[in-house]
Structure formats: structure tokens, C-alpha cells
């Protein structure tokens, strides 16, 4: 089994202790962890889901723009952060496992080290939620 870079290990350890929903991807965009708070938002714990491929996680929970249209994968803050090595921020809506929609603000930033980018972190601030059945 390949050892994760220390920066990802420390990021995961920190995220595990936060009550703010947070996601972690590796340098290839693979979703390698999200914390319990994120699991509560999505309606599925990371342990149930496991590691998820780059394109797959981008579509699993939406996200949707203000018009309810899916946001292209390339425009997601986490993707911008890991690909371009710069922070990104966006407001959008995600869909949890039970179909509920949540309006969130997302800030993502790259994990840059002496050996280059090791991945990125995205932190979600729930801005409110409503039942998707009413849409």
C-alpha cells in the first residue's frame, strides 16, 4: 500500500477534529477523505463510500448552480485548487444521499510543499438547506 504524503496525513488528522465539513483530494484529484461533518451533510460517511475517482465525486452530489443546472467538473473549487495550484471559492447547491438539497459556500486551497502540489482541501459552509422534494 502506498504511503500517503505527510501533508495529506496531517490534513486528514486536522480535518478529523473539525466540525466544519471538509474534503481532501490527492494530487491526482482522487477524493481520499472527508470528515464526519461532511458525511452528515452528504448523508453518507466516508467509510461507507471509500476513495472515489476524480470525475465520479464531482457528480455524486451535484453540485448545481442557482438555476439547478449541474456545474461542470472543471469549475469546481476543489478541482481548480488541485489543478491550478491556487485557491478558489464558489456558492452552489449539493444534493445529499436522501435527495435533500443544501446551499453551501465552498473554499478550496491547494496543499503545496517543497516537492510541489500534494492535493487540495475544500471546506464547506452550509448556508441553509431545504428538501429537494419541494423543487
Amino acid at each position: 500500500m502506498t504511503q500517503r504524503p505527510l501533508e495529506l496525513i496531517l490534513a486528514r488528522n486536522l480535518m478529523s477534529a473539525l466540525s466544519t465539513p471538509a474534503f481532501l483530494v490527492d494530487e491526482g484529484g482522487l477524493l481520499v477523505f472527508y470528515n464526519e461533518a461532511a458525511g452528515a451533510l452528504l448523508g453518507k460517511r466516508f467509510e461507507e463510500l471509500g476513495t472515489v475517482g476524480a470525475e465520479e465525486w464531482g457528480s455524486m452530489f451535484g453540485p448545481f448552480d442557482g438555476n439547478g443546472e449541474p456545474i461542470p467538473y472543471d469549475e469546481l473549487p476543489l478541482v481548480v485548487a488541485v489543478r491550478n495550484g491556487r485557491p478558489a471559492h464558489a456558492d452552489f447547491e449539493i444534493s445529499s444521499a436522501d435527495g435533500a438539497r443544501h446551499q453551501v459556500e465552498v473554499s478550496a486551497f491547494p496543499i503545496l510543499t517543497a516537492h510541489g502540489s500534494q492535493g487540495a482541501i475544500a471546506v464547506f459552509w452550509p448556508a441553509g438547506s431545504h428538501d429537494g422534494a419541494g423543487r
Binding site: T2, Q3, L6, I9, L10, N13, A114
Partner: protein
């Protein structure tokens, strides 16, 4: 591969009658590879004695620094081979975005902390950032990886023939993590230590001392034992003794470590506390280390 512990103490040299058996010199481990190549792991005050012992040895050696805290570099300006023009010394260490390895070490080897400057060292000295990928020195393959400690810090693995030495003297793998339950890929340093013939690992604090030192970059006895169990090392030496621990205290901790190791299903003699000047022989075609003295 032959391994000799020249300094086993952490933080600050601690000479005196109360530390005479385990030793008071700070981190330094001498390694002689199967082809005769010489390595020094860290350059704490123990490297002074190593240098004196090398008086008649070949003139090329490599110093592998885990990090630049003073207890790991303090002996550099007292290392006799550095003052011989015919000696070639290659110093390896962690990269930092802030400054080169040479410039960071020069902060110590310069006025007012040192009477000599790096440029004044008579030896042929060079400084290299450790690569992320494996590299070769003599008959060994060397791996370095960042590990959980304060500031840029590496652990090393040295594979020579079938034997392997993992050296992670300053390490807090349990910071914010439960290393008993985490997946192996997510435990700091485990990739270096896995199935090592000999693991030299941080064992600075007793369990009761650790809560007052969370985040200081070191392990409790329980964490060290858990890490060694997860690593499946054939033999583990607990290193970087706290300067406040007397020989009598270390005797107690060593006994506790052995008892707990056995209780977890380990075998007798697989875990011990580091003793200055002790030696280990790692046969090129064996998987476990034997004490040479």
C-alpha cells in the same frame, strides 16, 4: 550492515552520573554498509565520538540529517573528519521553501554561534536535498520521507542486501490520529518502517508525560509500541530519550515496554531502549538484527 548508536538522547546533551549507562549524547547513529561505505544518521553531539573513532577510516562519508533542530546538528563543528582536507562529506537533509540546506545549517556554523564558518571547513563538503525517490549510496538504497514532527523533518530507510534499517528518531505519528485503527497508508512514517530488520524510533515520553507535550513532535511509549507493531519491524530500539529521564527511569520504561510488547503478542528481545555505544549487526541475507555488543 553494522549499526552503532553514538548518541541516544533527545533535546539536549545530558551528561552526568545519572545518565551514564544510556548515555547523554544527542542523536547520532553510525552505519557501515556491506561494501564499507560509511553513513552518519544525524549529527548530534554523538558524532564527535564517531569522528574520533573514524580517525583512520576512509575519507568519504555521508551524513543524513533528519532535520535541523540543534540536538541533531550540534556535533557538526566538533566532527574531526570535517577538519581534514582529504575528507569528502556529503550532507543530506530535508528541503525547505525558506532556504537551502547549506544556508540553514550555516546559521549554526557561523558567528556568533560557531568559531568557524561553513566555507572555512577544510573538508570537501557538499549539501544535498533528499530526493523524493529512492537513491543509492554505496551498496544501499536510501529512502527518505517527511514524518510528523515540528518543521521539515525526514525519516530514513536504508536497505542493504536483505537487511533494512529504519531511522525515525523524532516522530509523533499519533498527533490527532489513532494509529491502532488507521489504515496503514495514513500513518506517518509507516512506509519507511514496514518490515524493517531494525527500527530506531522516537520513544521520548512516558505515557503520563505525553499529555503535557502533545504537538511537541515526539511519541509516548504507547504510541511507539503501537507504531512498531503496525510496522512489523523485526526489532525495535526506542531512541531520543528525554533529558529528564535518568538511567533508573529508563530501566523502568524499558521493562514496561518489554512487558507490554509481550502482552501484545510480541516475542522476547524484540523491543529495547537505545543504549549509547551499543551495536547491531544486520546480516546481508537475514531479516533480523542481532546485538553485536
Amino acid at each position: 550492515m553494522k549499526v552503532k548508536l553514538w548518541g541516544t538522547r533527545g533535546s539536549i546533551p545530558s551528561p552526568g552520573p545519572e545518565t551514564i549507562r544510556y548515555g547523554g549524547n544527542t542523536s547520532c547513529v553510525g552505519v557501515t554498509l556491506s561494501d564499507g561505505s560509511l553513513l552518519a544518521l544525524d549529527a548530534g553531539t554523538g558524532i564527535r565520538s564517531l569522528g574520533l573513532a573514524l580517525a583512520a577510516e576512509p575519507a568519504r562519508l555521508h551524513i543524513l540529517l533528519t532535520h535541523l533542530h540543534l540536538d541533531h546538528i550540534q556535533g557538526l563543528v566538533f566532527f574531526a573528519p570535517a577538519f581534514r582536507a582529504q575528507t569528502e562529506i556529503v550532507i543530506w537533509g530535508p528541503a525547505s521553501p525558506e532556504a537551502s540546506l547549506r544556508d540553514r545549517i550555516a546559521r549554526y556554523i557561523s558567528a556568533p554561534l560557531s568559531p568557524v564558518e561553513v566555507r572555512e571547513l577544510p573538508c570537501d563538503v557538499s549539501f544535498r536535498h533528499c530526493p523524493q525517490s529512492e537513491w543509492e549510496i554505496g551498496s544501499a538504497r536510501i529512502s527518505a520521507a517527511s514524518v510528523a514532527h515540528r518543521g521539515p523533518t525526514l525519516g530514513y530507510r536504508i536497505d542493504d542486501g536483505d537487511s533494512s534499517l529504519a531511522y525515525i528518531p523524532d516522530h509523533e505519528p499519533a498527533l490527532g490520529a489513532d494509529i491502532d485503527s488507521l489504515d496503514e497508508a495514513w500513518i506517518s512514517g509507516l512506509g519507511l518502517a514496514r518490515d524493517a530488520s531494525l527500527l530506531i524510533h522516537d520513544g521520548q515520553y512516558a505515557d503520563a508525560e505525553y499529555p503535557d507535550h502533545i504537538g511537541w513532535g515526539h511519541s509516548s511509549l504507547s504510541h511507539s509500541i503501537s507504531f512498531a507493531r503496525r510496522a512489523n519491524a523485526a526489532r525495535t530500539v526506542l531512541f531520543h530519550h528525554d533529558p529528564m529521564h535518568s538511567d533508573e527511569r529508563l530501566d523502568q520504561l524499558g521493562l514496561e515496554a518489554q512487558q507490554r510488547w509481550l502482552a501484545l503478542g510480541g516475542a522476547d528481545g524484540e523491543i529495547e531502549l537505545a543504549v549509547e555505544r551499543s551495536e547491531y549487526e544486520l546480516p546481508a541475507h537475514a531479516t533480523s538484527a542481532t546485538s553485536a555488543s
